[in-house]
């Protein structure tokens, strides 16, 4: 049964991908949705078993790589951590499959789309259920590949293609670090199996090694290298540039891959490796810093974006930052909790925005929307639920997970912890502002779209709304229902390692109330700013033009990378080719030699003039030289 969780999506993908032409669009949609839904139900059963029966298993499927001491199996590891991921991945995936039936109804390539979605699900499941680092890497690159396919799904769009390549290559930069991390693990421990590695960790805690001239603790180095991979996949600052561009893909893709599942793989990696990270103070601090920087950076950029999907993308980036800093302060279970709740409300927001985009016939600019809340009542309500959950409105799911993160940062009781808590609170406020800005600009105010009449906008069909409704139930209740479970360190058993038990204390009351108050008060503030007094934001922009430009241009990361990496690579490539290969190597090598020989032979040619007297003269000359030589000797 456990194996079929993984294999069903693969089968679905093969059926739809290779035989979609023969069985038809509708059947492909039904088959893929059905198989992935079965997989979701099985996952929930497994999760149930893990929670109530302490079920754990490590299934070896087959040998994969067996070279010398390196021994890697295709495997399926089921424990608390992977069972949570199983539920998140398969259930969101199933809902997105169903939603896509409606959303992609006008697309001519439906079977291909469904095949990619199912293939992605398969790769993601391989990632989360691996019992070793190399299968993890397989899933890791596999989801990256599917993400590449799906971002570039509309292959005629130049921007989509570029975004797809960017996503893959930027992720490869992360994978570069990740792969080196795996090499180092193998170098130190002679194995890549989680359990075997984790057992040996305490024995190498103080081991130092010389890496490229730096004397570092080996544990720190492993953690940092793995974290580079996590940064790439989870779009953390410096390696985040691909995520907003990835919004070129169809919206269901954004919901599944770029919100709920793939981008959380980095968080999953850190949590999975908690037995290593717990011993590296340096890496944990770095993760906290990167996490909180990403959180505030992305939130600040989200404030001024006008593309509905990009706002949500930056929001995702920011929430991933929260998860990382939760892991960084040692609250791995809370990171997982936020990952869990985030999957519901962020998928809801993405799919909701898809519903809006659908209604506006592919319009994505929120300045060209507005005033349609009566026309799209269900979408409106569902989006509000998603927003409330995201911003951490009391009693909704985001409230439990996000506030817990801030609390644990505070309880960490060191400088990084306090900074993180402060930035966490401020970011929560920013999150609220940009989220409500999105809602108000999209649904309230006056109708601003010039190309479509307001009468033409329409509510989405049931097949799209149904997944939204299910997700909204998760967004409302997931936090409340599961908070005990996720906070309970016994539930996590061996899958998460805490060097020191998590603090049982509670922060002071004023601190607990701070975030909810800010979050609640931001609703009227946003309403005033974006509906009542629209001139005010504009005048703020006018006053702070440089800051505004800085934010609109996303802190100029893309431009910087263009100057630093892309242009030089191309120039160096051109130089090496045109100058080095052609002029120097060929010029002095084969071409040079052959032209030299040619010149030489022309010279030599002249000797062979054919005149006897010349030959005789030369012979005489030679003879006399020889004689002279003999006489002198």
């Amino acid at each position: 049964m456990e194996l079929s969780i993984i294999t069903l999506p693969l089968i679905a993908s093969i059926i739809s991908g290779f035989f979609g032409k023969y069985i038809g669009d509708r059947n492909s949609e039904i088959v893929t949705s059905l198989l992935v839904s079965i997989s979701a139900i099985l996952s929930i059963i497994v999760f149930y078993n893990v929670v109530f029966n302490q079920y754990e298993d490590n299934i070896i499927i087959a040998t994969w790589i067996n070279s010398g001491t390196l021994d890697v199996n295709w495997s399926m590891k089921i424990d608390s951590l992977s069972s949570v991921m199983l539920v998140v991945v398969t259930s969101v995936s199933a809902l997105v499959h169903i939603y896509s039936i409606g959303y992609m109804s006008h697309d001519p390539h439906k079977p291909r789309f469904m095949a990619y979605l199912s293939l992605f699900t398969f790769a993601m499941l391989m990632l989360v259920t691996s019992d070793n680092f190399i299968q993890l890497f397989f899933g890791w690159e596999g989801v990256g590949l599917c993400s590449y396919f799906l971002i570039g799904f509309w292959f005629k769009k130049e921007t989509a293609n570029s975004a797809a390549i960017k996503a893959f290559v930027v992720n490869r930069v992360g994978d570069f670090g990740f792969a080196l991390g795996i090499f180092l693990i193998f170098y130190l421990f002679g194995t890549v199996n989680y359990n075997e590695v984790f057992q040996q960790i305490p024995s190498v805690v103080d081991k130092r090694l010389n890496f490229l001239g730096f004397e570092v603790k080996s544990i720190d180095l492993i953690c940092l290298l793995l974290f580079i991979g996590a940064m790439g996949k989870s779009a953390q600052i410096l390696l985040h540039t691909w995520l907003p561009d990835a919004m070129e893909g169809p919206t269901p893709v954004s919901a599944l891959i770029h919100a709920a599942t793939m981008v959380t793989a980095g968080v999953f990696l850190v949590v999975r490796c908690s037995p290593i990270y717990e011993y590296s103070e340096l890496a944990l601090n770095l993760i906290t810093v990167v996490g909180m920087t990403t959180a505030i950076f992305a939130a600040s950029v989200a404030l001024v974006q006008t593309d509905i999907k990009k706002i949500i993308a930056y929001s995702t980036c920011s929430q991933l930052g929260y998860m990382f800093f939760a892991a960084g302060v040692g609250a791995y279970n809370i990171a997982m909790f936020h990952l869990f709740t985030h999957a519901f409300f962020k998928a809801l927001l993405f799919l909701g925005s898809g519903s809006v985009i659908h209604a506006f016939k592919d319009e994505q600019n929120i300045n060209s929307m507005g005033g349609v809340w009566k026309k799209l009542p269900y979408t409106y309500v569902l989006m509000i639920i998603g927003t409330l959950a995201l911003t951490g409105f009391p009693l909704l799911s985001g409230f439990y997970s996000k506030d817990a993160i801030i609390e644990f940062a505070y309880l960490r009781d060191n400088t990084t912890g306090y900074y993180a808590a402060g930035i966490g609170i401020f970011t929560a406020f920013l999150t609220s502002i940009y989220s409500w800005r999105l809602i108000f600009k999209t649904f309230h105010g006056s109708y601003n779209n010039k190309s479509i009449k307001i009468e033409e906008t329409h509510e989405s069909p049931l097949v799209m709304l149904l997944p939204l409704i299910i997700l909204s139930i998760g967004a409302i209740f997931a936090g409340f229902i599961f908070k005990e479970l996720f906070f309970d360190t016994n539930f996590w058993g061996n899958s998460i390692f805490f060097l020191e038990p998590l603090s049982e204390e509670h922060p002071p009351m004023w601190f607990l109330l701070l975030t909810p108050i800010l979050v609640c008060s931001s609703i009227p503030i946003s309403y005033y700013l974006f509906v009542k007094n629209k001139d005010l934001p504009n005048s703020i922009v006018e006053i702070n033009k440089p800051l505004y430009n800085f934010l609109v241009n996303k802190w100029y990361f893309d431009e910087l990378y263009e100057i630093l990496f892309i242009k030089p690579s191309k120039k160096i490539g051109l130089f090496l080719w045109k100058f080095f290969d052609v002029k120097i190597i060929d010029g002095f090598g084969p071409d040079g030699v052959s032209s030299l020989i040619k010149k030489f032979s022309i010279k030599a040619n002249k000797f062979q003039s054919g005149y006897i007297y010349q030959y005789a003269f030369i012979m005489l000359l030679g003879l006399s030289a020889l004689l002279t030589f003999l006489i002198i000797k």
Binding site: I65, Y148, G589
Partner: protein, 493 residues
């Protein structure tokens, strides 16, 4: 004596080509000629599979050895296989029939002669991988140049003569030194029998010069930077089947040579020169990847990527780690499949559009979907995606390199990023995007034979990506014993 299966493998293609020599070449008989050639090569393939079936994986000793007197008292005709060479034999016999099938569209004139060249080439290649005597090895190694020279020079593109001579000059120049080295080995030890030489060992004072002489030959053939510039030219001018043979098999002779001779015969010198190999390999990986990024000609791009991939191979071999060497062998097999397929992919559109320039194409995915899917698969294999054979080789090489030297592994890993960039960019510009060139509307999708060839290459690429166990089982003992021999030599020096 048992059935001489290795000699049969070597001779069979030549015998097939004899049939062709005595047949008339005209349009009516062309299909018969092709069937004869195809039949020969398929029988040879089955024979090699049978050889693999008989092969004993538990020993590193040479098997199916045939030892006959030839030049009495000096050189024996000695052939045999071990775990390392058998895979290359199978690769050769597998690729050749596919090449023969592929000539349909690409070779318009003198089909008979072309097939003769391919079959004779197959004989020589198998000979290279099976030789257990240096002189025999040298003969096969050099003889292989001649059919390739002819294939480029006669059936090539507009600049074929320049390319053919460049190819010939480069490779010959390197090989002359190897011949000198082989003669000196005979004077030093009194034998050219590889197995005996393994036992005797070569005095360490001679090793350095001998190593360099062999190196000069192998470096050109690999090709290593900076003697790689013949490869892009040769590929660009060669007909598709020629490119396939060149990339898939010819380049592997040198990699095989490094393992069998450089490591096996000159361990002390190999140890000394490892930094040189590392440096050249890294330069090859990084420089040629950057160059590949900027290519406008599809074949040139893939040729440059071959140089980068072979850079990984040479790097892995000299790590002297189980993972590194096994990775290199698997990388060579994988590159044999994948680069062959990529050149065939270029050939498919070239036959239809007569252009290899990237900017001729764009937006063809909806016109020729089957082609696009297969091309995608091979692109992914080339950039080393897990689940394809390309990943296993590359990853193990880097793993082995990391054990030996951190810096080398870090720099080489950068090549993996560049690999993704140039391959995906190539694919995007050729297959995706808007259809600009209206002539492309006339493109027809893969015909039956093209489809068959590409699928035949795709299946092992995927299969060994998920389940490389058969390959590992075959090479494991041989590689392990080679490393042990190498290390014991180092200790005893």
């Amino acid at each position: 004596m048992n059935f001489p299966i290795i000699s049969a493998l070597i001779l069979l293609p030549t015998i097939g080509s004899l049939f062709l020599i005595f047949s008339k070449s005209n349009d009516q008989s062309n299909s018969t000629i092709k069937y004869v050639a195809l039949f020969t090569s398929i029988v040879n393939f089955l024979l090699s599979i049978y050889l693999w079936f008989l092969f004993d994986e538990t020993t590193s000793a040479f098997q199916f050895v045939e030892d006959r007197e030839w030049l009495i008292g000096i050189v024996n005709y000695k052939v045999g296989v071990d775990g390392i060479s058998i895979l290359f034999v199978i690769l050769t016999t597998f690729i050749t029939p596919l090449c023969i099938i592929s000539v349909n569209n690409s070779v318009k004139k003198r089909l008979r002669d072309f097939l003769i060249a391919i079959l004779i080439m197959e004989s020589f290649m198998i000979g290279v991988f099976c030789s257990l005597d240096l002189v025999i090895f040298y003969l096969f190694f050099e003889a292989g140049l001649i059919p390739m020279f002819l294939i480029i020079g006669i059936w090539g593109g507009p600049k074929r003569v320049y390319s053919a001579f460049k190819f010939f000059l480069y490779t010959l120049l390197g090989s002359v030194l190897m011949l000198v080295a082989i003669i000196s080995i005979y004077w030093i030890t009194g034998t050219t029998d590889v197995v005996k030489l393994y036992e005797l060992g070569i005095d360490s004072k001679y090793q350095n010069l001998l190593w360099l002489a062999f190196f000069s030959s192998f470096a050109v053939k690999t090709p290593m930077w900076p003697v790689h510039t013949w490869l892009p030219d040769a590929h660009v001018e060669a007909p598709t089947a020629g490119s396939v043979l060149l990339a898939a098999i010819l380049l592997k002779m040198a990699g095989y040579g490094f393992i069998r001779f450089s490591l096996g015969l000159f361990p002390i010198a190999s140890d000394l020169f490892t930094p040189l190999i590392y440096a050249l390999s890294l330069i090859a990986i990084i420089f040629t990847s950057l160059i590949a990024l900027m290519q406008e000609d599809m074949k040139k791009l893939i040729a440059y990527s071959s140089v980068a991939h072979m850079g990984f191979v040479t790097l892995g071999i000299f790590t002297i780690q189980q993972q590194g060497i096994e990775g290199s062998i698997i990388q060579m097999i994988s590159h044999g499949l994948v680069s062959a397929a990529l050149f065939l992919c270029v050939g498919v559109v070239y036959d239809r559009m007569h252009s290899r320039l990237i900017n001729t194409y764009g937006g063809i995915v909806s016109i020729i979907p089957k082609y696009s899917v297969l091309f995608m698969l091979f692109t992914l294999a080339a950039l080393g995606l897990p689940g394809t054979s390309g990943f296993i080789g590359e990853f193990l090489i880097l793993m082995g390199a990391f054990k030996d030297n951190f810096l080398v592994a870090v720099i080489a890993s950068l090549g993996v990023i560049l690999g993704a960039a140039y391959m995906l960019w190539l694919y995007k510009r050729v297959v995706f995007g808007k259809l600009v060139n209206n002539d492309l509307n006339k493109l027809t999708d893969l015909d039956k034979s093209e489809y068959f060839i590409l699928i035949s290459l795709a299946l092992p690429t995927l299969f060994f990506g998920f389940y490389p166990e058969p390959l590992f089982n075959t090479i494991e003992v041989s590689v392990n014993d080679l490393i042990e021999m190498y290390n014991s030599n180092l200790i005893n020096k």
